[in-house]
């Protein structure tokens, strides 16, 4: 090995130096190209589409119609608000459910940790549309759960779960739980046990150990988990269309409708950009307030 390197140096010294200088760029090249081709180009294309005017049959022309952004935002404001409310609540639920789960696996999982993690990931082996459809059947008004409870008169006959906000929010939380639990697990798992022991040695009770040692140290995981859950949750449309009713339409449903059903490409593109813009600004603020500081503390 050493000899080969030496030989290389001997033969082409200047070239190696150049290679060394280029190395970081060469390493980033595949990823950079990937981003350029598959992210920047389509994004630029969609940005141009969002400022066109026309329809499928007469064609679309670039008119720089910036006002469209205001029009579609006003038209679909309720759906925007609803999406962010649902996304926030669902993220809160996954955090509340995912934290104890991750904590338990990390601290008490013992030698079965991998098994538990595998179980957590198991649902991913089935398409999430299929799993959501399964819930549609399970929770049907006269289905195996509600039907039975109604027959035993434990529930009033008019009771239903589907077609409610609760159903949609629970569906989102259910589908995105692993996105929250996994980063949490990684963060909690990395906590040095000696720090926890030291806290106990210094007379911290269990509550203080958690609140003042474990939880602060797991903040990076909380940060990553919220990010990974909240962003897709806000843009989700599958849960609303399968589990929802008349008043649960989210912005994702609207974008899908405008794009695939109405062929209003400009409106759909503008809506996507508004959603992306709000999310980016939100995440930026969130990262400044919580993310950066906590990561610094952690390091």
């Amino acid at each position: 090995m050493e000899r080969r390197v030496a030989a290389g140096v001997h033969v082409g010294k200047p070239r190696t130096r150049l290679g060394k200088r280029l190395a970081p760029y060469l390493l980033v090249l595949p990823g950079g190209l990937w981003l350029l081709i598959f992210f920047l180009v389509p994004i630029g294309f969609m940005a141009s589409v969002s400022l066109q005017t026309g329809n499928l049959e007469e064609g679309f022309r670039q008119t720089w119609h910036f006002h469209r952004y205001i029009e579609v935002f006003q038209q679909y404001r309720p759906e925007f608000i609803r999406s962010f409310v649902y996304g926030s609540i669902a993220t809160g639920i996954t955090l509340a459910a995912g934290y104890p789960l991750a904590y338990w696996i990390a601290f008490h999982g013992g030698r079965h940790k991998t098994t538990f993690l595998f179980l957590l990931l198991l649902p991913f082996f089935v398409s999430f549309v299929i799993r959501t459809l399964a819930w549609q059947f399970i929770l049907a008004d006269d289905g195996i759960v509600l039907g039975a409870l109604k027959r035993w008169h434990l529930l009033p006959h008019s009771f239903h779960v589907l077609a409610t906000q609760t159903a949609v929010i629970s569906g989102i939380a259910y589908n995105f739980l692993p996105f929250m639990a996994l980063p949490l697990y990684v963060a909690i798992e990395r906590i040095d046990r000696r720090v926890v022991e030291a806290a106990s040695d210094l007379y911290a009770n269990k509550r203080d150990v958690f609140l003042r040692v474990i939880f602060p140290l797991s903040i990076p995981g909380v940060f990553a988990g919220i990010l990974l859950t909240f962003v897709p949750a806000v843009g989700d449309y599958v849960n609303a269309s399968i589990l929802g009713g008349t008043n649960t339409t989210m912005i994702g449903n609207i974008i899908q409708l405008e794009f695939l059903q109405n062929f209003h490409y400009p409106a759909a593109a503008a809506l996507s950009f508004i959603l992306m813009g709000i999310l980016l600004v939100g995440i930026f603020i969130y990262a400044r307030v919580l993310g950066a500081r906590s990561i610094e503390e952690y390091v």
Partner: protein
């Protein structure tokens, strides 16, 4: 509705649109400015058909399309789920027979879930002047098929290859408003939009659309989430012809549905999943397509879903009668094979074979005899959902036909907020 569509020639606005498109459409195709060649190609393809098929229909050069009329031996057929006859092994007897008769091998693919999403997939390909990979597609009137025709993406049919259609097709389905003279399409199957209900839970049979607004069924009513099956019945219930109602009347009908929505009477606006909702008890009364309810009501042993309590009602104000049509997309590789197949399905025995499985309305009335005497299936032969009587059709309304894209946008602007 046997009402004759007014004999409309080509709308000048439409022609203008078609010619304009050639230039502006290119913008859509410039993926990052790289594919200029592609867009020039697309422009050629579009302009060729736009002038060739539209402005001078009488001189369509069929020999250019169908050559010497010799099939290539392959047919790529894009259809909807459950829309052809299937035996216990999952094969289609009618397709097998077709291959036996003609030597044409059929690649049958059920890739169409919905008109517009399917069009959204094939239109960019057609814009690029390329073959979609399908020689036959099935699209519904009231949006899908009109779009394909208007964009100039349907191959004109040479009727000399369609003697069976000429002879056996239901005259009421010929020369429809959305394709005058059947220049580009022939019907595949038709169906009704009416009302489906659970007769175990609803004792007095519903009579019309107004029963869907009954507060007694609060939270248990299903309606369609699309811009034909919801608006047309609502307009019909007000005694209006969906094709003649004014924009003000559209709004009145929309308000009617909106009120029921606000009162919580409507549980949800469904896509094709409405039938599961009815079977699961999520809804007890719903807007419905005739064939689905028939399938739901038949015993499992007979290929149905086993819910005998599911019933279909022709609303007294008239059901909506829609048509799925077969067309050959532009640039199809095997047009002769496609038109040969179009002709084949208009044989009464073939139509009968398919009707006995599909359970929608066949465009070949004489298939009834075949179903009755050869297949000995009197249930199907006597069902008004499959072989409707003239009386059933007398009050039926057609899907709204959009004269211009603008009219479609205006209509959607009224209805979309109702069902989203």
């Amino acid at each position: 509705m046997s009402e004759k569509p007014e004999g409309r020639s080509i709308d000048p606005a439409l022609l203008r649109g078609l010619t304009q498109r050639r230039i502006s459409r290119r913008d859509m195709l410039k993926y990052g400015g790289g594919a200029v060649g592609l867009s020039i190609l697309a422009a050629c393809g579009v302009s060729g058909t736009a002038t060739g098929n539209r402005s001078t229909p009488s001189v369509t050069n069929f020999s250019k399309i169908y050559d010497d009329g010799k099939p290539a031996g392959v047919l790529n057929f894009a259809n909807w789920e459950d829309y052809i006859d299937v035996d216990s092994k999952g094969n289609s007897p009618s397709l097998r027979q077709f291959t036996k008769d003609t030597g044409i091998k059929v690649n049958y693919k059920t890739v169409i879930n919905d008109n517009d999403p399917f069009l959204a997939k094939i239109i960019p390909v057609l814009q690029a002047g390329q073959d979609t990979g399908y020689d036959l597609v099935v699209l519904t009137n009231g949006g899908g098929i009109e779009r394909l025709i208007r964009l100039g993406y349907a191959t004109p049919l040479d009727h000399k290859y369609l003697p069976n259609w000429e002879k056996n097709a239901d005259p009421k389905t010929k020369d429809p408003v959305y394709d005058p003279g059947n220049k580009y399409t022939v019907p595949w199957q038709s169906g009704f939009t009416g009302i489906g209900y659970n007769s175990k839970l609803i004792k007095t049979p519903p009579t019309g659309f107004k029963d869907l607004l009954n507060p007694a069924y609060k939270g248990k009513v299903g309606m369609f989430a699309n811009n034909q099956d919801l608006p047309c019945p609502a307009l019909a219930s007000m005694g209006l012809d969906p094709n003649k109602a004014t924009p003000d009347q559209w709004k009145q009908a929309a308000d009617l549905v909106n009120k029921a929505r606000g009162d919580g009477i409507i549980r949800k606006f469904y896509d094709q999943s409405y039938i599961n909702a009815l079977e699961n008890g999520d809804t007890i009364i719903t807007q419905a397509w005739s064939g689905d309810i028939y399938i739901a009501s038949q015993p499992k042993s007979g290929g149905g879903d086993g819910y005998p309590e599911m019933k279909f009602v022709f609303p007294q104000e008239g059901p909506i009668y829609w048509h799925d049509n077969i067309a050959i997309p532009l640039h199809a590789q095997h047009p002769v094979d496609a038109i040969t197949y179009m002709n084949y399905v208009y044989r009464p025995d073939v139509a009968g074979m398919m009707a006995d499985f599909i359970w929608y309305v066949t465009p070949v009335p004489s298939a009834k005899d075949y179903v009755l005497t050869t297949l000995k299936d009197s249930t199907v032969a006597n069902s008004p959902l499959i072989f409707p009587t003239t009386e059933d059709l007398a009050h039926a309304w057609q899907y709204k036909f959009f004269k211009t894209p603008q009219e479609e946008d205006d209509w959607n602007a009224v209805w979309q907020p109702v069902y989203t």
